[in-house]
Symmetry: C2
DNA sequence: GTTATTTTCACATCTTTATGCTATACCCCA
DNA sequence: TGGGGTATAGCATAAAGATGTGAAAATAAC
């Protein structure tokens, strides 16, 4: 049995959600609130704590994203799925970073919504198609301006720098003299067109 | 109409896939091969080029992941969805980085597989539940060991470091003396428990 | 088998960073 | 009204990094 909590400020939508989801045998609605604050206030009085929370983003007071931190703090075992009209990458990333396990568009048909929520219990992370595409794009690194390729050894060196090591430590790790490390780094800087560790790291050549 | 290509080395599975998917009115199967090499070789002779490719990962010769680069080069307009028994985060990330738009587990029921593939045309990125969870986790940075918060000014300084600037340049940007920058950096290093720019950047405090 | 690239190392020099100690001015607040 | 915390600044020193020049050995490429 999934103990479901719902946070949604618009009464019409909230009632539609509770009306449908709470009627499903898989769910037990334990709490439905119009704001994160209201939700948090009600939690201590409850017998069954929610294990799955469906939260809007555009809320009065704390936004759904801002609310994630206190929610997860108060209910560490609960998983939160965002339900929002917003589909922009920024809100999606912010939500996921703040701990949401899924992100669904508000126009998701109720039966689909139900399926998606059940996926969470199965270890899934439901996302509406367009949302998923944002997330995928994040991995597909923006085409870099075609830099000279690094030799394997140079990549070893870069890895060392990316790990925050000093020249000496890199030398130790690769069993080289510090002068050799210097040599390689000079080459790397030339190829990647930077001239300090900081710049190299700032440009994020990590993969 | 979706022009579908399939790459799968096991004849049984390949036939099951083609048998089911090609019978669907939404798809037109244009090519089915047992390896990336075979697939690539066949492309030039075709009238209708595939717009959607379903590719296995464990293939003889080029793996499905290695095959992504040449596939995308030869068929830039095609989208590739991986279909694999492997569910490890490494292969998932490698696939997405190499340009796959979706990742499905091999035990996905055929009707579900069909739905997922149709999602791609709608701009979606289908992922099996467990796969999606890997991806989500990537965003949920491992809980940092509760660091002392930085003051606004200190954050300015950190931003400068993250942009790859030297002390002098940070000072110029913020209209400070270089010694002031040093002072702030000292505080930052203490709070974040690092002792070099490289370490700070390596730990990735950027957001 | 010669050529080119990569990998390795050395020494010198100058710049940037890291770190310690000190000090003034400002603001909040108890 | 005096004590935290923040922001500013200076000086000094040691460590780490950046850059130039040069060169030998190992590998790969042709």
């Amino acid at each position: 049995m999934i103990y479901l909590g719902i946070i949604e400020d618009q009464p019409t939508i909230r009632e539609a959600l509770t009306g449908y989801l709470c009627a499903q045998p898989e769910f037990s609605c334990v709490l439905s609130a119009a704001s994160v604050e209201e939700f948090l206030a009600a939690v201590p009085t409850m017998i069954h704590r929610p294990t799955l929370i469906l939260s809007d983003i555009g809320l009065p007071g704390l936004s759904g994203i801002e609310g994630l931190a206190p929610l997860r703090h108060l209910l560490p075992q609960a998983e939160v799925v965002m339900l929002s009209v917003y589909t922009d990458a920024q809100r999606v990333f912010d939500s996921l970073r703040a701990g949401a396990v899924g992100y669904l568009e508000k126009d998701t048909p109720l039966p689909v919504l139900k399926d998606n929520l059940l996926q969470v219990a199965a270890g899934g992370s439901p996302m509406s198609p367009g949302i998923a595409r944002h997330v995928i794009r994040y991995f597909q690194s923006p085409p870099r301006p075609a830099l000279e390729p690094l030799t394997p050894r140079e990549q070893d060196i870069v890895r060392g720098i990316e790990d925050g090591l000093s020249y000496q430590r890199i030398a130790d790790r690769l069993f080289l003299s510090i002068d050799t490390v210097r040599s390689h780094i000079r080459q790397v800087y030339r190829k990647l067109q930077v001239n300090s560790k900081a710049e190299l790291l700032a440009r994020g050549y990590r993969r």
